[in-house]
């Protein structure tokens, strides 16, 4: 590689009870896209925080352009051109796009809005994206917000750009736009540090990959000379063979049928799911997937349409109704919708049922304990105790708590919305195995996912949405990434017959 831009030398950082980074050293070359790969807790976040000056290391050095910095503060880091795009947006929702792009730059009373807009437009046209700079950020889609974040970094002349899971909120085509952008930045000599759980992306965009495990440096590889399999085994320290568990599926009765469902942007959608089936819902971000399941689950009021559960037409007006009918939702946003982070594991597991386990509104602690123990063991939730706060668990284990909560409610139709978002590879595997076990027990799973590979690997059948409409249905034999993507981008499937209308 070329000239070294940023060096990490023997950095150590520990927190009470945890060693986040242990004698960690590595180099980033100028103008390369260098991916960091590692499971949750591998120390990636700590590393980028140290590079950006958000936290100081216990020992070790950072070298930028050959200058030594025992520790940086955020201000110094910015001056050296270090910019971070975090997973969570740091935009001011109430301000305009242009104001956000130049946030912190227009000190003083008078700002020339026209000038800001002009400069923002210029950056956007360089980026090859169309965003109206006078729009309020609140009104943008997550994908557009991500682009504004990138524009912000560009406006500050980033020399080292750190991107933490930048593709998470983006659709496939938007990810492509972002990649084109990264290529442009690279050509300008910007060093890009790219973090993503989506390994296929690293092959697409990165020059080199550094694998981290348990706060230690494992290896740096040229992306062209490695394989997905190799990266995963380096990452987890063991071989993962069967990523998507195989199983024999026998379709039996239809357990849920949706007829002409409409509301909140969902237009006239009909489909059915069988007992023992995993039905995948494909579509880009904003295609109405989450909205569709929210309507089924009663989280949002529908405009029209029917839901038929086990042959009976039902009227679901609230999540409570849905749960009573045996429909459970594992929501997309685990932390804000799925669980109560500050509450304990057992409280969360029994959240949907404690109201039923009462005697004159006195809680039946024996039964509650039995339920939380049962699902804790069944799903192998790794927690020191059931009294642990969910906030303290890893993403994968938090997700298991949410699933446990839904299972405890005795749901037979489980809707998983992005079941593995932000979860590391090992935990993903466990979630997949668990899903297969559930369908083998005769439950029905409806799964939304933005990860095409996961969707194709797990589903028995797929339905594809585009802008709130059903574009088609794909049987497992005909699973093909290209075909599904075509449907998801609005090209209708001619063979599809609307047989359940």
């Amino acid at each position: 590689m070329g000239e070294v831009h940023l060096s990490i030398r023997h950095i150590a950082k520990s927190y009470p009870g945890v060693i986040a980074l242990d004698d960690f050293s590595m180099d980033f070359a100028k103008g390369e896209v260098h991916a960091l790969l590692g499971e949750n807790g591998a120390g990636k976040s700590t590393l980028i925080k140290i590079i950006s000056g958000a936290i100081s290391p216990d020992s070790g050095l950072i070298l930028i352009d050959g200058n030594e910095y025992p520790k940086l503060n955020p201000h110094e880091a910015k001056k050296l051109g270090v910019e971070v795009i975090y997973q969570e947006f740091s935009l001011v929702e109430s301000l305009s796009v242009a104001q956000n792009v130049f946030l912190g730059e227009y000190a003083g009373f008078l700002t020339d809005h026209k000038d800001l807009k002009k400069r923002a437009s210029k950056i956007f046209s360089e980026m090859g994206v169309t965003i109206d700079p006078s729009l309020q950020v609140r009104k943008l889609s997550p994908a557009k917000k991500q682009l504004v974040e990138i524009a912000k970094a560009i406006s500050r002349n980033a020399r080292i750009l750190i991107m933490d899971e930048p593709s998470a909120p983006l659709s496939a085509s938007e990810v492509e736009t972002m990649f084109t952008l990264i290529e442009k930045l690279k050509a300008r000599g910007v060093t890009v540090i790219y973090i993503s759980h989506r390994i296929e992306e690293l092959f697409r965009i990165s020059d080199r990959v550094t694998v981290m495990r348990d706060g230690r440096y494992v290896d740096t590889l040229n992306t062209k000379q490695t394989s997905r399999q190799e990266l995963i085994s380096l990452m987890v320290g063991r071989q993962l063979n069967e990523f998507y568990p195989k199983r024999a599926t026998e379709l039996s009765d239809v357990v849920i049928q949706v007829n002409n469902l409409s509301g909140i942007g969902v237009k006239n959608i009909s489909f059915q799911a069988h007992k023992g089936e995993i039905l995948g819902i494909a579509g880009l971000v904003g295609s109405g997937r989450t909205e569709l399941v929210s309507l089924i689950f009663g989280a949002v009021k529908k405009d029209s349409g029917d839901v038929i559960v086990n042959g009976k037409k039902v009227n679901i007006k609230s999540p409570r109704d849905a749960l009573n009918l045996g429909i459970g939702l594992i929501p997309e946003d685990r932390k804000n919708q799925g669980c109560i982070l500050n509450a304990q594991v057992d409280f969360n597991i029994t959240l949907s049922v404690f109201n039923k386990l009462t005697h004159f509104s006195l809680l039946n602690f024996r039964k509650l304990k039995r339920i939380s123990n049962h699902y804790n063991n069944a799903l192998n939730i790794r927690t020191p105790s059931l009294q642990q706060r969910v906030r303290n668990l890893s993403g994968g284990n938090q997700q298991k708590v949410v699933v446990a909560k839904t299972l405890a409610a005795e749901a037979d139709i489980l809707i998983f919305d992005e079941p593995t978002r932000g979860i590391d590879v090992g935990a993903k595997q466990e979630i997949y195995n668990m899903m297969v076990e559930l369908v083998e027990q005769g439950k029905t799973i409806i799964m939304i996912s933005s990860e095409m590979e996961e969707l194709l690997g797990m589903s028995d059948r797929l339905i594809v949405l585009f802008e709130g409409e059903l574009m088609g249905e794909v049987q497992q034999e005909k699973f093909d990434q290209h075909h599904v993507l075509e449907l998801a981008s609005g090209q209708r499937n001619d063979q599809f017959e609307r047989s359940y209308a």
Binding site: G17, N40, G338, A343, T358, T383, P384, A409
Partner: protein, 336 residues
């Protein structure tokens, strides 16, 4: 314990601060630690504790109620007028007063659920409405000389300790019991912990939200009875201001104003902390205005402490995702 239990620390911090404060004031005034003064502090603050408990339902549920003082004003004059002007029996007047208080809470709750605006704004609006109604009903007059049966409430009952002290104790225990052992209490903890997650888990969050406010109104009305019985007089000016003390006590006592957490022991300690502060400063001869400033500083201190802890927690948590070992206190364990 491998690590300090932060929530536990907080629980003890406030008790330790209270003790330190008492030691300090015992040096500024020899009268401070006398039995009589200590009993005074307790009996003068029973109704604050009851209000704070009422408020705790709202706050642990993730809301806020600024109108409690004005609820007291309205409930107080209505009860007093019924007893003194209309000669209603005491039990009926008190019953009507308590129902009225519950109703006022219900109104707050319904408005919040229906209009979907911050509870802060809604209760700010209702507080001036309640105040207006209170003045219209009272005609800005003072009502005094209540029947003996009503005054019993604050007269010595057992071991020369007034009845309201026992009543307060029972209410504290009852509230602790509700949070720890009943589905109602758990619903409130869930609501305050994460409203959307609770709704998606099948909890009727709207009903629960309204219930927390009604519950608050109910306890505030009971507190009003204690307050006017103790004073043996009331007017529309009795009550307003209580919300500030009760809110401060709740926050100082560790009721998170983002909801989902809190314990009754902390709450009671919070009330006494403010009471001891006021009493001690008075005995030490500090003027009232200084006292205001010190109380404000205490509130700022409590909020700062809360914030510092939160920041520290999140920092530690982010790093220790896989090997957690932290506070065990929280939901379902609020038996103070």
């Amino acid at each position: 314990m491998r690590k300090i239990n932060l929530s536990g620390l907080r629980k003890y911090t406030i008790v330790i601060v209270l003790i330190l404060m008492m030691i300090f004031f015992s040096t500024t005034s020899p009268y401070f630690l006398s039995l009589r003064n200590l009993i005074n502090i307790v009996t003068q603050n029973t109704y604050f504790i009851i209000v704070a408990i009422g408020l705790s339902f709202v706050m642990i549920g993730g809301g806020i109620d600024l109108s409690v003082g004005y609820q007291m004003s309205l409930v107080g004059v209505v009860t007093a007028i019924l007893m003194t002007v209309h000669q209603f029996p005491v039990w009926l007047s008190v019953l009507i007063g308590i129902l009225l208080g519950t109703f006022l809470g219900l109104v707050n709750g319904l408005l919040i659920v229906k209009i979907k605006v911050f509870p802060l704004i809604i209760t700010l609006a209702t507080s001036t409405i309640f105040q207006g109604i209170s003045y219209i009903i009272s005609g800005a007059k003072t009502y005094r000389s209540y029947p003996a049966e009503f005054l019993v409430l604050t007269k010595p009952f057992l071991f020369r300790i007034p009845l309201d002290v026992f009543l307060t104790l029972i209410i504290v225990l009852l509230a602790s019991f509700i949070y720890a052992k009943t589905s109602f209490g758990w619903n409130i903890l869930a609501l305050g912990g994460n409203e959307e997650a609770s709704r998606l888990a099948g909890i009727n969050t709207k009903v629960m939200r309204v219930a927390t406010y009604a519950m608050c109104g109910f306890f505030v009305a009971i507190a009003t009875m204690v307050m006017i019985s103790k004073a043996n007089t009331t007017s529309s000016m009795f009550g307003p201001g209580t919300e500030f003390t009760a809110l401060t006590a709740a926050i100082v006592g560790g009721i998170s104003f983002t909801g989902g957490e809190g314990n009754m022991l902390g709450l009671v300690t919070g009330v006494f902390l403010l009471a001891v502060l006021g009493n001690g400063m008075q005995l030490a001869g500090w003027n009232t205005y200084t006292q205001f400033i010190v109380k404000g500083l205490i509130l700022l201190g409590a909020v700062t402490f809360d914030e510092m802890q939160k920041n520290r927690k999140t920092q530690v948590r982010k790093q220790s995702e896989e090997m957690p070992d932290e506070s065990q206190v929280g939901q379902g364990e609020n038996n103070g």
